[in-house]
């Protein structure tokens, strides 16, 4: 059809408006194809790896070695494997956890190099190797002698290599894992023993209860409570959410923008549409012609975005694989994802634009040709503010704002969307800083936490005593969550909690963290029911105070009350917190936590987040530029006659910019201010859904400094887009007003 040429030429004539729309479609399809593919491939590869390596359902530590493993396995239809590990000091401050190779559960997968064949061989996790500049072929000097690095590996229970299952951040500088053969483990001497288990049927509670009667379970960690195993799931879920929510949100914004540009195009072409009618064109032919515009935009934007997404997807997968200790992620972008990515813009754009066209096609051809329908109408608001006692410039600006309420709304929505994207990064960073920085330092005033593998009765060498046990509780949304209950000395000084008003809490009381109180919907003075993870016994606890802390699902009791609750020996304890390093023998210790290490790990983890904040800010600025530039160019195009007339009357360019573009500053400001609560609310929702599996929750915060930086970025972005607009304003000819009058 010859009219196709008209589509191309019209798009070319208004390319500044359409390029923006194409870019938005490109960004959304790129995000979808890259992140959705990466997310699903990581999920699939992870699942495959977990199956092949036989991922544990839980692991546990016992007071005494387990006897008659085979009998337990037969009785409860489960698989057990005794495991050992050795925590060996490495370099200056690092700890390498050397695991004995397993046969049935949590088997290692080789990432590079060769499998273990000899007692002097060792496989390392790649993150640790990179952090310590270790290569395949190097020799490591460990307590049992020299070990030869033959490759890199990963194990399902250390996908995210954390020293403790409840840690939040990894730090490959300070901690890593390795695997050696059974003979190799023997060279290292006596190690710590624990057991991994997979269940054939749902009889965990019966097994635990039986085990507890025959032995004593020191710790039991289900895989869903093990951050080393579950952290990656939250992250993949996050990537999939990015892939699902962000492209749809950007496409919705694109629809609004394209519809707006398009309805203006239709208005300008009413006479042409009427003429085509008069020439005998059928409605469906006119509809098909005008659908050519969104089709072309969707084709170019969606096509380029999908191609770039396909190209980018391996890098996103690689990012996951290297951040987590994952086996190589297989699978490219599936045909299904490519098709959805290509179709998505059509699904969004075509119905919206078809609706606009059909609305125009309902008008009789005579009306269209008369041009009467395009006459601007005076709105109610405009009529109400007929008599404004303002200077002319201000009155002019108010009239502009009142007359173009649709475009103004679009400007607010567009800048709010871009601001939200910008603020996502800032708010995430601020929230993490607040959680790990201010809160951690204010509450935990010790440098080391030592947890023993048996009960201690003698007074500690130094520091304060504590004990802990894991319980289950049911949240307000009817989900099971794990809670750590601590017993600490009533006069403890190394941990300090405050209530919301800032008053220090007394450890004579039973104290619950705010994050947990929110999840369980508990107020001070309420009772909560908890199920002991080791004994499966249900206990009721009265909560006296709520601590203003988001650092985990925690309850603190006085130590004596804690021992009584758990049936532990009076005066016993399982851990010590202290400011100075203590010299406990390694075989007595279950774990050691170094606060400095934790902070260093946090800093190491926050580093990529900072880059992510910059990247998100970059995308946000691009989107803001597109939206603002598109709307200002639309504004100038619609105001050509006015601009031309003002030029004829002798207005200077600066006066024109001020009159026409001045009011938009207020709209950008309103958009930004709206974005702040919207960002906080939506991030709260997102974190709530992401951290369901992680047993943590985040207080969402935006610091004043970042609020103003964000505002400055948006205003500067607006100023930049104004520069483009000024060039366009300069191009408006003096004859435009005269021509328009004649037409």
């Amino acid at each position: 059809m010859i009219l196709r040429k008209k589509v191309l030429r019209s798009l070319n004539a208004r390319k500044s408006q359409y390029i923006g729309s194409v870019l938005l479609i490109l960004i959304s399809t790129l995000l979808f194809s890259a992140f959705y593919s990466a997310g699903t491939n990581v999920t699939d590869s992870l699942q495959q790896f977990r199956q092949q390596a036989v991922e544990e359902d839980a692991h546990f530590f016992l007071q005494a070695p387990l006897q008659e493993e085979a009998a337990w396995e037969a009785r409860y239809d489960l698989t057990l494997e005794e495991r050992t590990y050795h925590d060996v000091s490495f370099a200056k401050d690092a700890l390498l956890r050397v695991l004995r190779e397993t046969k049935e559960i949590d088997r290692y997968a080789l990432l590079e190099g060769e499998k273990l064949t000899g007692a002097d061989q060792i496989l390392l996790d790649r993150g640790f190797a990179d952090a310590h500049d270790l290569q395949i072929g190097d020799d490591l000097s460990l307590p049992g002698g020299t070990f030869h690095v033959v490759g890199f590996m990963t194990v399902p229970d250390y996908i995210y290599p954390l020293k403790s299952e409840t840690d939040l951040v990894k730090n490959p500088q300070a901690f890593g894992v390795a695997v050696v053969t059974a003979d190799g483990a023997a060279r290292l001497g006596d190690g710590s023993t624990f057991y991994s288990v997979t269940f054939g049927k749902d009889n965990k509670e019966a097994f635990k209860s039986d085990l507890q009667q025959n032995n004593f379970i020191l710790r039991w960690i289900d895989k869903q409570d093990n951050q080393r195993m579950t952290f990656v799931d939250g992250d993949v879920k996050g990537a999939l959410q990015v892939a699902e929510v962000l492209p749809v949100a950007i496409l919705l914004l694109t629809i609004v923008l394209v519809s707006s540009v398009f309805s203006r195009l239709l208005k300008q072409e009413y006479v042409q549409i009427g003429t085509l009618y008069a020439l005998g064109y059928r409605k469906r032919e006119i509809l098909r012609h005008y659908l050519g515009y969104p089709t072309l935009l969707a084709l170019i934007g969606g096509g380029l975005g999908t191609v770039l997404g396909v190209l980018l997807s391996p890098s996103v997968q690689g990012m996951f694989a290297s951040f987590y200790n994952l086996p190589p992620i297989t699978g490219g972008v599936s045909l299904g994802v490519v098709l959805i990515s290509l179709l998505l813009p059509f699904v969004f754009l075509l119905p919206a634009t078809a609706y606009l066209i059909l609305r125009v096609l309902r008008l009789p051809p005579l009306h269209l040709m008369s041009g009467q329908v395009t006459q601007p109408k005076i709105g109610r608001l405009e009529k109400r503010f007929r008599h404004l006692k303002l200077r002319f410039a201000a009155r002019f600006q108010v009239r502009e704002l009142l007359r173009n309420s649709g475009r103004n709304l679009l400007m607010i929505v567009g800048t709010a969307f871009a601001s939200m994207l910008l603020l996502f990064g800032f708010v995430t960073q601020d929230s993490m800083d607040s959680l790990m920085g201010e809160q951690y330092e204010a509450i935990y005033r010790y440098n080391y936490q030592y947890l023993f593998n048996t009960f201690q009765q003698d007074p500690p060498q130094q520091g304060e005593k504590l004990s802990l046990a894991a319980f289950d509780a049911t949240t307000a949304s009817d989900k099971k969550t794990t809670i750590l209950v601590y017993g600490i000395e009533p006069d403890a000084e190394l941990i300090r909690f405050q209530d919301e008003q800032g008053a220090r809490l007394d450890f004579q009381d039973n104290i619950m963290t705010k994050s947990l109180a929110k999840q369980l919907d508990v107020q001070a003075g309420d009772d909560v029911s908890l199920v002991n993870q080791l004994t499966s016994e249900t206990v009721t606890l009265h909560i006296d105070r709520i601590a203003d802390s988001y650092l985990g699902n925690l309850i603190y009791l006085p130590l004596d009350r804690f021992n009584e609750l758990n049936g532990f020996p009076q005066g016993s304890y399982l851990g010590v917190i202290t400011n100075d390093k203590a010299g406990y023998p390694a075989d007595q210790l279950y774990s050691v936590t170094d606060s400095e290490e934790l902070q260093a790990g946090y800093q190491a983890m926050i580093e990529p987040l900072r880059y992510m904040v910059f990247a998100i800010a970059g995308v946000a600025i691009v989107i803001a530029l597109i939206v603002i530039q598109l709307l200002t160019s639309m504004l100038i195009e619609e105001s050509q006659q006015k601009v031309s007339m003002l030029k004829v009357l002798g207005y200077r360019p600066k006066e024109l910019y001020k009159l026409l573009l001045g009011p938009n500053t207020w709209l950008v400001l309103i958009g930004y201010l709206l974005a702040v609560p919207l960002t906080i609310l939506s991030l709260q929702q997102m974190f709530n859904s992401l951290t369901e599996e992680m047993n943590v929750s985040f207080p969402i915060q935006l610091n004043a400094a970042n609020f103003f930086i964000g505002l400055a970025i948006m205003l500067v972005t607006y100023q930049v887009s104004k520069l483009f607009a000024q060039r366009k304003l300069k191009k408006v000819s003096l004859q435009a007003s005269l021509k328009a009058a004649r037409d």
């Binding site: 009219l3 030429r9 042409q272 009618y277 005998g280 059928r282 009789p364």
Partner: protein, 232 residues
Amino acid sequence: MFVEVTNVSKVYQTGEVSYQALKGVDLSVEQGQVCVILGPSGSGKSTLLNAIGGIDTVEDGTITIGGKTLTAMDDRQLTEYRREDIGFVFQYYNLIPNLTVAENVEVVTEIAAAPLSREEVLKAVGLWEFKDRFPSELSGGQQQRVSIARAVVKNPKLLLCDEPTGALDYETSKEILKLLQTINREYGTTILIITHNQAISAMAHRVVRLRSGEIIENRLNDHILSPERMEW
């Protein structure tokens, strides 16, 4: 009769105000005739032309063109009627600005059942050498020629011209009228022209004068003049 308008009335309703544009109009035009409809603004001549062209409807009466009764047609049938039988020439040309001269003509050849050759028609209107220009690169007279070429190329049974010289100067107007007369003679196309300009009636076979929605004069013209000889 090729064009048969019988007792046609049309009322425009704007809010509470109603305005009767046509009051029981009767008109007949034979095939191959040029009919000029004269009248001041608001006389109903455009309404009559639009109703005959199938882009407006009437309340009462019947309109029959070449045996087809428009007043009995639905929207779809009216579209087919415009597509096959009618050519329009507008006062302000109504060309598509981002299509070239040739492409503006092609807009019609694309959909017409038996169009004439685009080249033949553009040569006939004297614009073949301008075929690759855009409308904004042409004078008003040239743009109107394109508009006429676009109307004629489908080889319509009836050519409706709404003030075809209303936006043109004296010389150019004469050229356009000459072109219309040539088309009438060469292709045997029936032409209805509405105009304010009484002088144009000299080139018509039939002259109709409207005032306030009523025909006050309807006569045959025995002394048809060539537009070159017309003066106003």
